[in-house]
């Protein structure tokens, strides 16, 4: 029953998409909209095919993908470590958390030019900007998750004279996992954003670099092709996190990430 409902939902969505694309194609042709303003779906498809055929898209996609994933992994590890320290130690919370909040209110995109100066035009600057932007959603969710343990569970551990590490391992960390995954889900999309912004500011390769070049040449159908690839990248990363979460947080009371 559920499988059939799911399939019919997907069929409806596919039909709706075909109708939309058809209207778009007809609108562009009937109204004679110039391709440098809004290209027809057919010319976007041609650009997409051409980009794949000469390997440019695949190369650029993987460069940006690797930057985003590396930035994401860095942010995930740093977010979990710093968040745990802040949640566990009052002194760390008092000294470090104000800085975290202050940094959080700076638009992270604005530091990208500075990072390019410090780390150069290569991979490392992209990874740093990506990680900086992806760090905060992880951090905040780790802190909230670790602090969301019910008092009863802490009492149970305390009644057994459990050590801080035992309480952390047996109760707090598993309780925080659904929250951590919610943070990772936001972070993984942010990491792509960070990589693109860094590529905009200064780079020699990647989808962001490519997109700027196409834009400067007014090759708008190629720009659309890049956007489609970026959307696909975000979707792939989100789905990876979603499925990982389903496996790890199998008891899943809070389905923290949205389903596509």
């Amino acid at each position: 029953m559920m499988m059939r409902a799911l399939r019919s939902n997907r069929l409806q969505l596919a039909a709706f998409t075909v109708v939309l694309l058809g209207l778009w194609q007809m609108g562009v042709e009937v109204l004679a909209i110039p391709p440098y303003l809004l290209p027809a779906p057919s010319s976007i498809a041609v650009s997409l095919y051409g980009g794949f055929a000469d390997g440019l898209f695949i190369r650029s996609f993987f460069i940006t993908f690797l930057e985003a994933v590396a930035g994401f992994l860095l942010a995930a590890v740093a977010g979990v470590v710093v968040g745990t320290l802040i949640a566990q130690f009052r002194i760390v919370e008092r000294l470090v958390y104000p800085y975290v909040v202050a940094l959080q209110s700076v638009p992270k995109v604005a530091i990208a030019p500075l990072v390019i100066v410090w780390f150069g035009y290569g991979f490392s600057s992209k990874i740093v900007v990506s990680a900086t932007i992806a760090f905060f959603p992880v951090l905040v969710n780790v802190i909230v998750g670790l602090k969301s343990v019910e008092q009863d569970k802490l009492d149970l551990m305390r009644s057994l004279n459990a050590s801080r590490l035992q309480t952390m391992r047996l109760v707090q960390f598993p309780t925080a996992l659904p929250f951590i995954f919610a943070g990772l889900d936001v972070a993984v999309v942010f990491s792509v954003l960070g990589a693109i912004v860094a590529e905009f500011v200064g780079s020699q390769s990647g989808l962001g670099n490519l997109l700027l070049t196409f834009n400067a040449n007014l090759d708008i159908s190629a720009v659309f092709a890049c956007l489609i690839l970026l959307g696909a990248m975000g979707m792939v990363l989100h789905l990876a996190i979603y499925h990982l979460q389903r496996r790890v947080v199998f008891w899943g009371q809070a389905d923290s990430t949205t389903r596509f």
Binding site: E150, D152, K153, D155, L156, M157, R158, S159, L160, N161, A162, Q166, L170, V171, P174, V249, F250, W251, Q253
Partner: protein, 273 residues
């Protein structure tokens, strides 16, 4: 039949058997969020013999949960003394098992893994503890559910798991804080019957907190009646109903007499149950 005991409880077991719990002139004062000083427990004295089933009954806010937390070592009293088997209570003890109002199970661990928690924290021998965990699950009637997850169990079954968990490290004292308060009336009666058997088989001392007079009389060897604001002991009653008790005992005259006595004690303080 019913005998209201003068305070402090003068009855002592023979001197060579130490009392399981000895509470003398115990008070607990705390500062509320409003800044006011609140006297939660006021000059309370009573004792619990080993392997005795003691019920503490009172309305909410009478300090009975505070009293339990002090015995558990989770809270500190501000005056008087509290002793566990002759030793002053300085903190939580491995000799105590606690059953909370909720089952407090970890949803990511199976029933067996939940029951094993005290053994893991106390670093007990794993093989022997596993055997003991299986035995305790059998004792609470859940031998077939060792590998189930908590969400697959009903509320009553979850609370049975938490009783098995409280017993797995073989404590001599079982503390229960309104453990069946969240269950429906019929499940609750079944659980009361089961608990009577479990306590006898596990050979532990039990301190059982409840706001149900019937439950207290049905389960207890003695019942401590507490009245609120500040929490004081109004009386300690002997429940001399023969054991094992079945649910029919609730319809008998002696049972009704005990219930009426306790209700009168509670009403005397301007409270209705």
């Amino acid at each position: 039949m019913t005998r209201s005991t003068a305070l402090p409880d003068p009855r002592r077991a023979s001197p060579d058997v130490p009392l399981a719990i000895e509470i003398n002139n115990l008070s607990m004062r705390y500062t509320a969020a409003s800044g006011d000083s609140v006297l939660a427990v006021d000059d309370v004295s009573f004792s619990v013999r080993q392997k005795e089933f003691l019920c503490v009954v009172g309305t909410s806010g009478c300090g009975k949960t505070t009293l339990l937390r002090i015995i558990a070592g989770l809270a500190k009293h501000t005056a008087g003394s509290a002793m566990l088997r002759g030793q002053p209570i300085a903190g939580p003890s491995a000799d105590v098992g606690i059953v909370f109002q909720g089952a407090v199970l970890l949803p990511w661990r199976t029933v067996l893994e939940n029951v094993m928690i005290p053994a893991i924290v106390l670093r007990l021998d794993r093989k022997r503890s596993l055997q003991r965990a299986h035995d305790m699950l059998a004792l609470v009637g859940l031998a077939d559910f060792a590998n189930a997850y908590p969400k697959e169990l009903s509320g009553g079954m979850q609370q049975r798991v938490s009783i098995a968990r409280a017993l797995v490290h073989n404590p001599t004292l079982l503390l229960m804080d309104e453990p069946f308060g969240a269950l429906d009336a019929m499940t609750r009666e079944t659980m009361n019957l089961e608990l009577q058997r479990i306590a006898r088989d596990a050979e532990t001392t039990v301190v059982f907190i409840t706001h149900s007079i019937q439950e207290a009389v049905f389960l207890g060897d003695r019942v401590v009646v507490m009245t609120p604001r500040p929490g004081r002991i109004a009386a300690v009653l002997d429940i001399d109903l023969p054991r094992p008790r079945d649910l029919d005992v609730m319809a008998t005259e002696p049972f009704g007499h005990h219930v009426r006595s306790i209700r009168t004690l509670l009403n005397a303080r301007g409270l209705t149950h």
